[in-house]
Symmetry: C2
Subunit: 179 residues, 2 copies
């Protein structure tokens, strides 16, 4: 068992989104928290044993996004983005790819268009990570009625183990629906 | 961040129970699976970075259990158990402590009496592990009506991140409620 594990890395998918307060390219408080938790508690210094797969799902809108097929794996991959993509989802991924580069852990990052909860489960099915990490605002039942929660859907429906990292109480913005 | 993580270990609580088919001292298929997954995918060879905390909650019954306050951390701790405890929950813990000893990862294991889902959440509150791993039989909604699921309760109510490891399809016994 222990011997088998040395042959291949553990692939962790991390669902990330933009801040509802600061917009692109800033990550939401809960995605940043989920990522940092994964590094601090799981990867630790064992950077060669893990691959991080960052998925950002962008809800289609008029400021549409035209670079859906690229994969980003190092800070250099972001150098030639045009202005349109810089203000959109791709630039969000740069934050996480840069952090991985600093830490020395391998990663891939990409964006998909669609309904986040559906697309995350679809990408899990396609890529079969060992587990999925998602952040959560930790909303109460009343607040959830209005905003839905991607994390609860993923826990129920994704075809891999899912770990939900709740936002720290001291990082909750004035309006807890913000992130 | 990365530097901070080197100062302390990641504490993983693992909820374990006995096999409904083979009884004590055999672990259930899903607890064994959850443990092996944790070693293979999270701990890997980084054995000094993790502490495993095994909690077995025994539902009180007539074959009651009289050694509730001991903590077991090495194979030697099980040598002087009396016959009554050998056939009960304590002996189940020996399986996991022995495996940790073989692998070289630090662990503690203990048994509590009560309702598993309530006690697990209570112990999480008391010990504040970094996260909790629980196995699950992966039952469908119809089957769950009759048996309840500890893992779903823990995901909702425990005060730490929870990762549920579903039993592999090829390990499902003839009656999927068995484990």
């Amino acid at each position: 068992m222990a011997e088998a594990s040395s042959r291949e890395v553990t692939r962790i998918m991390v669902g990330v989104n933009e801040s509802s307060i600061k917009g692109y390219p800033n990550p939401s408080i809960s995605s940043k928290g989920a990522f940092e938790w994964t590094i601090q508690k799981i990867v630790r210094h064992n950077v060669n044993a893990f691959d991080l797969l960052f998925l950002h799902v962008q809800v289609p809108d008029e400021d549409g996004f035209d670079d859906m097929d690229s994969i980003y794996a190092s800070p250099e991959d972001f150098k030639n983005l045009n202005q349109r993509n810089r203000i959109s989802g791709t630039h969000l991924l740069e934050y996480f790819v840069n952090r991985c580069h600093e830490i020395g852990v391998r990663c891939q990052a990409w964006t998909k268009l669609g309904d986040p909860k559906e697309v995350i489960c679809h990408e899990v099915k396609r890529l079969q990570p060992d587990f999925l990490v998602v952040g959560s605002r930790g909303l109460g039942p009343f607040q959830k009625v209005f905003v839905g929660t991607v994390s609860e859907f993923c826990v129920k429906h994704c075809e891999c183990p899912v770990i939900t990292i709740k936002r720290k109480a001291n990082e909750t913005p004035q309006d807890p629906v913000d992130d």
